[in-house]
C-alpha cells in the first residue's frame, strides 16, 4: 500500500495505480477527456492535470502519473483550474457548432467537460478547416470537425478489437482520425462509436432516431453468439433504437447492429397450420389444439417413443428444461437431442472421455429462499468437483493465460468476446499466441507461431506438437495426473518429424519445434478451439487430441490455463447442460443416476438412451420401427444446419407430423404441419448459459406482440396432452431446475461456472485418436463451410438487420492461385459442385486462403452451403464458371 494525500485528504492506494484511478475511487472529481477506464492512458488531452509534490514544478496528468509514497496531490488549485479552462478552450478552438443536431448531444463528454470547467466563451481564433466528413462508410459516420483527437477510438480498435482500422492522420492542428481517406472497411463492430467522447463517430442506424435522454434502458443478454455479453437495450416507443455495452463498451457488429431482426418483416406473427400443402394463419387455440390432437393420435397408436424432440440453442434454459421435462416426465421417453450434437457435443463427448463426466459433492443446500435466477445450492468448504467441467475456462480468466493455442477457429466471427479476451491477454508482454488453422484468420497477425495445416489436419498438428514436445524434452511427464501416457506415446512415434509435417501440410518441422518451445515455457497455457474444427465428422477425435495435449502441458490449477471449446449460439452450452440429450439428464447426469427418478416425475425412469439426432435420421432413412413418426422442434433449423441438406429434407418429409416453434418460417418450418411463432431475446425473460459458463439474465424490453415465449407454449401443449405444468414465470422454472442441479452450485446472474471456490481434482486418461484425415472424393478443392463476422446463424440475415449492409450475402472465397487457374474473376458467379449437390455463389478472391482451399459462409438460404456437405463442414468440390 502507498500513503498519499489528495487535496489534504490522507488516502491509501495500491501500488501501480494512477492518481486519477485513486481519486475516482475516493470520490474526488478530476475532469478528463482522453482517458477511459477500459483503455490504457496516453495523457494526450492534459485536462486531468494536478499539482504533485514532490515532483516537477509543472502540473502532471493524473491519468498517467502513478501514486507514490508521501505524495501530496492538489487537484483544484487556481493554477490547475486555469490551465484546464484554457485547455478546454483550445479543444473547442475549431469545434463544429453541431450540438443541436449531433447525435451525442446530451451524452457528450465534451459538453459535460466544458460545462463543468465553466468555459463561457472561446476567445481564440483559428484557421477554419473544411471538414472532410465521411458519409460513405457503412454503419459508421465520421465527422472530423467534431473530433477532439483523444485517440480513444484508435486505442480500442487497436488494443481491444484488434482491427486497427482507425488511426491518426496528419499532425498538430491538422490532426484527424480516420481510415486513410478511404471509407471504413473494418469489422464494423461500432466500438469506436461508443467510446468516442464526442460525436465524431456516429452510429448510422441510431442517427436522428432518439436522444440520449429519451430512451428507456433494459439490461439483457446478447443472443448473437455464445459469448453472453451483457448489454443495455435502449428503446423508445416500443422499438429498439440501439444497444450499448455500458461497461466495457465492446460489442461486435452483429450485437450492436443486428437487433433489427426483432422487427423483421418476415417474422411470424401468428401460428400457421398447413392445409393441402399450403400454410394458413391460425389462432393459438386452433394451432395448439391441432398439435395436441395429432401428437395424441400418434402416441396412442405407436407409443410415446414415436415422438422425437429437438431442443434449441436459441431458447432459454427455462424453455429447454421444460422441453426435456415434457419428454421425460410427460411422455416418459429420452427421445430428445439438440443441434449442438453436430459440434459442441462432440467436444463434450471427447472431454468426458479424457477427464470424465462432471461430478460434484459436498455442496450446501438447497436453501429455501434465494434471489431470482440464483442457484439454491452454495459451494461449501468441503465441496469437491471432478470431471471435464472444471477444465473449461471462463471468459474472465482467459486474459490471465500466458499462452493461447487457437486451433480450428476463426476466433472473432465465431465468438467475438473470446477475441477481445485474447486481445486483453496480449496486453501482458509475456503472452504468446499460437494460431493453427487451414486458412489465415485475423489472429494470425498477432501470432508468435502460425501453423497453416491442411483442412481437417488439426489433430495431426497436435500429434506433431506432442512429437516436438517430446523431442525438446524426452523426460516430459504429463502436467495433469493422467493414466495411459506410456501407451499414448505410440501415436507420435508413428511417423518421423518430417512425415508429420508433410501430413499436416507444413513444409518442415521447424514451426512445431518453435511452438513446442513456447508451450514448454508457458506457465498457464490455454487451448481455444471452435466450430470449424468441431463441425468436421471426426471433430470428436480432434478434441481428444487437444485434451491429450492439455493433459501434457495444461495447468488447470492456474487461472486461465483451461480449455475453451466454443459453444456457438447464445445457449448452446445451456441446452446441453440442461440435458436436452438422449443419453444424459440435466447436469450431464447419467440416465441411471441415483436421483434419475426426479426427472421423470410420475413416469418410470427410462433407463435406455434415445437415438441421437444423427441416429434418428438414420432410423428414418432405414424406415426402422424405432424411427419417430412425429417431431417437435423447439427452433433449431435442421434443414439449414445439418449437413447433406437434401437428405434431411427428404427424411423430415417422411414424418407423419412435424411441429416447429420458431420466430421465422425457416427451411424446416416450411416442412412443418404446424408452426408456432415465438418471442426472441428482447421480448422475453429467462437465462442463457454462455460458452464461458456465465449465467446471463434476459429482461423483457419489448412487448411480444402476439407471439409467445417458448416456455408458455410448452406448458400449454403439455397440459393439453394431460401433463400439467404450471409456472408463474421463468424465475419460477429456474428455481425448480437449479434445485435439481447441484452442479450449478453458486451460480447467479453474471457469475460463471465452475465456481472458483470448488476444490477441483483434475485427472484424466490419455485417449488415442484417429490420425486418418482423408476427405472422401476426388474433387480438386477442399471447401470449408464456416462463419462470417456479421452473422449469427440465419438470425441476422433477415432484413432490416443492419449487418446486411456489410455482408449482404454469402461469397465463395477462392485463393488467388485457384481463381487464376479456374479463370474466375471477383464478383463472377461460380458453380460449386460436390458429390451431393451443387450451388451457385459469387466469387471473392481472398489471399487468406492457401491454394486448394475454398470457403463458403453457412448463414444464407441462397446459396445453401449444406447442399454440398455429407457429414462434415469440410467437403471436396469442383468449382467452375457458372
Amino acid at each position: 500500500m502507498v500513503n498519499l494525500t489528495i487535496d489534504g485528504r490522507a488516502i491509501q492506494a495500491k501500488k501501480g495505480q494512477t492518481i486519477l484511478e485513486v481519486a475516482k475511487e475516493n470520490g474526488i472529481f478530476i475532469p478528463y477527456l482522453c482517458y477511459h477506464p477500459a483503455l490504457k492512458p496516453i495523457g494526450s488531452c492534459r485536462i486531468c492535470v494536478v499539482e504533485v509534490k514532490p515532483g516537477p514544478p509543472r502540473p502532471l496528468p493524473a491519468c498517467a502519473t502513478y501514486v507514490a509514497e508521501g505524495q501530496e496531490v492538489v487537484t483544484n488549485s487556481e493554477r490547475v483550474l486555469a490551465i484546464r479552462q484554457e485547455l478546454g478552450k483550445l479543444v473547442l478552438i475549431n469545434h463544429a457548432l453541431d450540438c443541436p443536431i449531433c447525435d451525442k448531444g446530451g451524452e457528450c463528454e465534451l459538453q459535460d467537460l466544458v460545462h463543468a470547467l465553466g468555459v463561457g466563451t472561446v476567445d481564440y481564433e483559428a484557421e477554419p478547416i473544411a471538414p472532410n466528413i465521411d458519409y460513405v462508410s457503412r454503419l459508421i459516420e465520421r465527422h472530423p470537425d467534431r473530433c477532439v483527437a483523444c485517440g480513444r477510438c484508435v486505442r480500442i480498435c487497436r488494443d481491444h478489437v484488434g482491427a486497427m482500422a482507425i488511426n491518426f492522420m496528419h499532425r498538430g492542428y491538422y490532426t484527424e482520425l480516420g481510415s486513410g481517406l478511404l471509407p471504413l472497411d473494418c469489422e464494423f463492430c461500432g466500438s469506436c462509436v461508443d467510446i468516442c467522447p464526442v460525436g465524431a463517430l456516429i452510429n448510422k442506424v441510431f442517427k436522428y432516431s432518439a436522444r440520449a435522454w429519451e430512451v428507456e434502458k433494459t439490461e439483457t443478454v446478447c443472443s448473437f453468439c455464445g459469448g453472453g455479453c451483457i448489454y443495455t437495450v435502449q428503446t423508445k416507443n416500443g422499438q429498439i433504437k440501439r444497444v450499448v455495452n455500458e461497461d466495457t463498451v465492446l460489442l461486435c457488429g452483429r450485437g450492436r447492429f443486428g437487433f433489427g431482426v426483432v422487427e423483421a418483416d418476415d417474422r411470424l406473427k401468428t401460428p400457421l397450420i398447413k392445409e393441402n400443402g399450403a400454410f394458413r394463419e391460425a389462432t393459438w387455440e386452433e394451432a395448439l389444439a391441432l398439435t395436441a390432437q395429432r401428437l395424441q393420435e400418434i402416441i396412442d397408436a405407436a407409443g410415446a417413443g414415436a415422438v422425437y424432440g429437438v431442443g434449441s440453442p436459441r431458447a432459454t434454459n427455462e424453455a429447454n428444461y421444460l422441453f426435456q421435462k415434457f419428454f421425460r416426465a410427460g411422455l416418459g421417453t429420452n427421445n430428445i437431442d439438440n443441434p449442438a450434437r453436430l459440434h459442441y457435443m462432440k467436444a463434450i463427448a471427447a472431454l468426458a472421455q479424457v477427464f470424465g463426466w462432471p461430478k460434484i459433492s459436498g455442496v450446501a443446500g438447497p436453501a429455501g429462499k434465494k434471489a431470482p435466477f440464483t442457484s439454491p445450492y452454495t459451494v461449501a468448504e468441503g465441496t469437491k468437483g471432478q470431471g471435464f467441467s472444471f477444465v473449461l475456462g471462463t471468459l474472465d480468466e482467459l486474459p490471465q493465460a500466458d499462452l493461447a493455442l487457437v486451433i480450428g477457429a476463426d476466433l472473432t466471427p465465431e465468438m467475438p468476446p473470446l477475441g477481445w479476451a485474447v486481445m486483453k491477454a496480449r496486453q501482458n508482454e509475456a503472452f504468446k499466441l499460437i494460431v493453427a488453422n487451414p486458412r489465415q484468420t485475423k489472429f494470425d497477425r498477432y501470432a508468435d507461431v502460425s501453423l497453416r495445416c491442411k483442412p481437417g489436419a488439426e489433430r495431426l498438428l497436435v500429434a506433431g506438437l506432442i512429437k516436438a514436445l517430446l523431442a525438446a524434452n524426452p523426460e516430459l511427464a504429463p502436467a495433469v495426473t493422467a493414466k495411459g501416457w506410456e501407451e499414448f506415446q505410440e501415436i507420435p512415434k508413428k511417423y518421423g518429424p518430417k512425415e508429420w509435417a508433410n501430413r499436416c501440410g507444413l513444409e518442415d518441422f521447424h514451426a512445431f519445434e518453435e511452438a513446442a518451445r513456447l508451450l514448454l515455457a508457458a506457465k498457464a497455457p490455454a487451448i481455444i478451439f471452435g466450430t470449424e474444427l468441431l463441425g468436421q465428422d471426426k471433430g470428436e477425435q480432434t478434441v481428444l487430441a487437444l485434451a491429450d495435449l492439455f493433459l501434457l502441458i495444461g495447468h488447470p490449477g492456474t487461472p486461465g490455463s483451461k480449455l475453451y471449446p466454443i459453444a456457438e449460439k447464445a445457449n448452446t452450452r445451456g441446452v446441453c447442460e440442461l440435458g436436452v440429450l438422449p443419453d444424459r439428464l440435466p447436469g450431464y447426469l447419467p440416465l441411471n443416476a441415483d436421483n434419475a427418478a426426479a426427472f421423470f416425475g410420475a413416469k418410470p425412469p427410462a433407463a435406455e438412451a434415445g437415438p441421437t439426432l444423427v441416429e434418428m435420421l438414420d432410423l428414418l432413412e432405414k424406415g426402422d420401427e424405432a424411427a419417430p413418426q412425429a417431431l417437435y422442434a423447439l427452433g433449431g433449423d435442421l434443414v439449414r444446419w445439418l449437413p447433406h441438406r437434401s437428405r434431411t429434407e427428404k427424411l423430415l418429409k417422411k414424418l407423419k407430423f412435424l411441429v416447429v416453434q420458431d420466430a421465422f418460417l425457416t427451411d424446416t418450418a416450411k416442412l412443418a404441419d404446424v408452426v408456432l411463432p415465438v418471442a426472441v431475446h428482447a421480448e422475453q425473460e429467462g437465462t442463457y448459459l454462455s460458452s464461458g459458463g456465465q449465467l446471463g439474465v434476459l429482461a423483457q424490453a419489448l412487448s411480444p406482440n402476439g407471439v409467445r415465449p417458448d416456455w408458455k407454449i410448452i406448458c400449454d401443449l403439455a397440459g393439453r396432452l394431460g401433463f400439467k405444468m404450471s409456472y408463474r414465470n421463468p424465475a419460477h422454472i429456474f428455481q425448480e431446475l437449479s434445485g435439481l442441479m447441484p452442479s450449478w452450485a453458486g451460480l447467479a446472474p453474471k457469475l460463471a461456472l465452475p465456481c472458483p471456490a470448488v476444490a477441483s481434482e483434475i485427472n484424466g486418461e490419455f485417449q488415442p485418436f484417429d490420425v486418418d484425415i482423408s476427405l472422401p472424393g476426388r474433387r480438386p478443392l477442399a471447401l470449408i463451410i464456416g462463419k462470417s463476422l456479421q452473422h449469427s446463424g440465419s438470425f441476422t440475415t433477415h432484413a432490416p438487420s443492419a449487418t446486411l449492409l456489410v455482408t449482404p450475402g454469402a461469397q465463395l472465397r477462392v485463393s488467388p492461385d485457384d481463381a487464376a487457374a479456374l479463370e474466375l474473376a471477383e464478383g463472377e458467379e461460380a458453380k460449386v459442385i460436390s458429390s451431393h449437390g451443387e450451388v451457385t455463389a459469387t466469387v471473392k478472391i481472398s489471399a487468406d486462403l492457401p491454394p486448394g482451399v475454398a470457403f463458403l459462409p453457412e448463414h444464407f438460404g441462397e446459396p445453401a452451403a449444406n447442399e454440398l456437405t455429407l457429414n462434415s463442414n469440410l467437403v471436396r468440390v469442383t468449382i467452375q464458371k457458372a
Binding site: G88, L92, P100, G106, V114, H115, G120, T121, V122
Partner: protein
C-alpha cells in the same frame, strides 16, 4: 372581548362554508359547528387547490420549477420566485450582481403593495365595504402594468432567474415606477379615509380574533400576522437578503390587542414602508450586469449561442440537463407579503431537485382558524378569513 358565554348544552348544527364561496379566498372549506350564532368549532378543510407543486419539482430542472413557484401565492407571483431563486443560489454558493439584487427588491416591494391592496379590497368587501376594493384595484392595476413592462406577464411575470434576471429593466420603467411611488402616499390616504376611522369597520374588527405575541410565536406565525400581535420580527431587517440592508425602513407593529384591526393597521403601514423602500431602490439603482457571470448557471446571450461553441454547449447543457448544484440541503426564507416564505431544497447533485419543501405562511396561519374562531359569532369567521390574508394556492401548493 371576554364576553364569550359557555355554549349551552343544546343540539349544534354543522355548516359547510365553502369550498366555493366568495369570502373563502379560493377554494377553502370550513366545517363549522354552530350553536345558534356562536361557533363551537371551525375546521378548515384544505387540499382543493393542491397541485403537487413540490412533487412536480422533482421531475424538473431547477429552472423549470420557476413557473410552478409563480403560482404558489398567486397574488404575489414573483415573490415566490424570489425565495426560490435565493435558495438555489445559496445552494450554488453564488450571489447575484448588485443591480439584479436591487431590481429584485423593486419587484418584491411592488408585489407586496399589490398583494396588500388586494387584501385590503377583499377584506373590506367581505365585511361590507365595497369602495376600498375599487380604490385598491386602481393602484394594483398600475403595478400589474409595471410587471407587464418587464416581462409581458402581469400576475406571473416570471422575470427572476436563478443567477439573476431574465433581462434588464425596459426603457421607461424607472420613470413610470417613480411616478407610482410619488403618487402612492396620496392614494394611500384614500384607503385610510375609507376604513381606519370607519365605525362599522372598527365594530367588525376591533377585538375580533385576538392572539398575544407569545401565542403568535407558538403558532408559528410570521409576517404581518405576527407583527399585528406585536412580534417584532421582519426577515428583511433581521436576516437581510438581496441588499435589504442598504435601505432605510421601519417595521410597523400592531397594537397590544393583537386583533383584526391591529393587523389591518400593520398592513396599511407596511404599504407605506414598501413605498419608502421603492423610492430608495429606484434612486440608488446601480448600473451593471443583471446575472452572474458563471456559464454553469446563467444562459449565454442568444447571439453567442449561434456563433460560439462554448456558449452553445453551455446553452445545451443548461436547457437539457439544467444547473447542477452540489449535493446538499439548504433552507432560505424571505419576508413575503404574507409572512415567512421558506424553501427547503435537497440536491443530490443532479439537474433536478431531490426534494423541494415550501414553507408557506398561509398554511401556518390557517392552522389557527379554530383557535381564533371558537366562541365567536359566525359573522366573525368572515373577518377572520379576511384578516389571515390567506391564498389557498399558498396553503395547498
Amino acid at each position: 372581548m371576554e364576553t364569550v358565554k359557555p355554549i349551552p348544552q343544546t343540539e349544534t348544527m354543522v355548516l359547510n362554508v365553502g369550498p366555493q364561496h366568495p369570502s373563502t379566498h379560493g377554494v377553502l372549506r370550513v366545517e363549522v359547528e354552530l350553536d345558534g350564532e356562536v361557533i363551537g368549532r371551525a375546521d378548515p378543510d384544505i387540499g382543493y387547490l393542491h397541485r403537487g407543486i413540490e412533487k412536480l419539482c422533482e421531475a424538473r430542472t431547477y429552472h423549470k420549477c420557476l413557473p410552478l413557484m409563480n403560482r404558489v401565492d398567486y397574488l404575489a407571483g414573483e415573490v415566490n420566485n424570489f425565495g426560490y431563486c435565493l435558495a438555489v443560489e445559496k445552494l450554488l454558493g453564488i450571489e447575484v450582481p448588485k443591480r439584479a439584487q436591487y431590481i429584485r427588491v423593486i419587484m418584491a416591494e411592488f408585489t407586496r403593495i399589490a398583494s396588500h391592496l388586494f387584501w385590503m379590497g377583499t377584506h373590506g368587501h367581505d365585511l361590507g365595504a365595497m369602495t376600498p376594493l375599487f380604490y385598491g384595484f386602481r393602484e394594483r392595476e398600475k403595478i400589474m402594468d409595471l410587471c407587464e413592462m418587464v416581462s409581458g406577464g402581469r400576475m406571473f411575470p416570471l422575470y427572476f432567474r436563478i443567477g439573476g434576471l431574465a433581462a434588464d429593466l425596459p426603457e421607461g420603467f424607472v420613470a413610470k415606477a417613480m411616478e407610482f411611488v410619488r403618487e402612492f402616499p396620496d392614494n394611500w390616504k384614500d384607503y385610510d379615509n375609507l376604513l381606519t376611522q370607519n365605525i362599522i369597520w372598527k365594530e367588525r374588527t376591533v377585538g375580533v380574533a385576538t392572539l398575544t405575541a407569545e401565542e403568535a410565536v407558538d403558532w408559528g406565525w410570521s409576517g404581518p400576522m405576527a407583527r399585528g400581535s406585536g412580534v417584532d420580527w421582519d426577515l428583511r431587517r433581521d436576516n437581510p437578503y438581496s441588499s435589504y440592508e442598504d435601505f432605510d425602513f421601519e417595521v410597523p407593529l400592531g397594537t397590544k390587542a393583537g386583533d383584526t384591526y391591529s393587523r389591518y393597521l400593520v398592513r396599511m403601514q407596511e404599504m407605506l414602508q414598501s413605498n419608502r423602500i421603492l423610492r430608495q431602490t429606484l434612486e440608488k439603482l446601480p448600473e451593471g450586469p443583471i446575472k452572474v457571470d458563471d456559464p454553469r448557471v446563467s444562459l449565454p446571450p442568444k447571439d453567442k449561442v449561434y456563433t460560439d461553441i462554448a456558449a452553445l454547449i453551455n446553452h445545451f447543457k443548461l436547457i437539457q440537463e439544467g444547473i447542477t448544484p452540489p449535493a446538499g440541503e439548504i433552507y432560505q426564507a424571505i419576508e413575503a407579503p404574507k409572512g415567512e416564505l421558506g424553501f427547503y431544497i435537497v440536491s443530490d447533485g443532479s439537474g433536478q431537485p431531490f426534494r423541494v419543501k415550501i414553507r408557506t405562511p398561509s398554511f401556518v396561519v390557517l392552522n389557527a382558524t379554530n383557535k381564533l374562531a371558537t366562541g365567536r359569532l359566525f359573522a366573525d369567521l368572515i373577518a377572520i378569513i379576511g384578516t389571515m390574508d390567506i391564498v389557498l394556492a399558498d396553503v395547498d401548493r
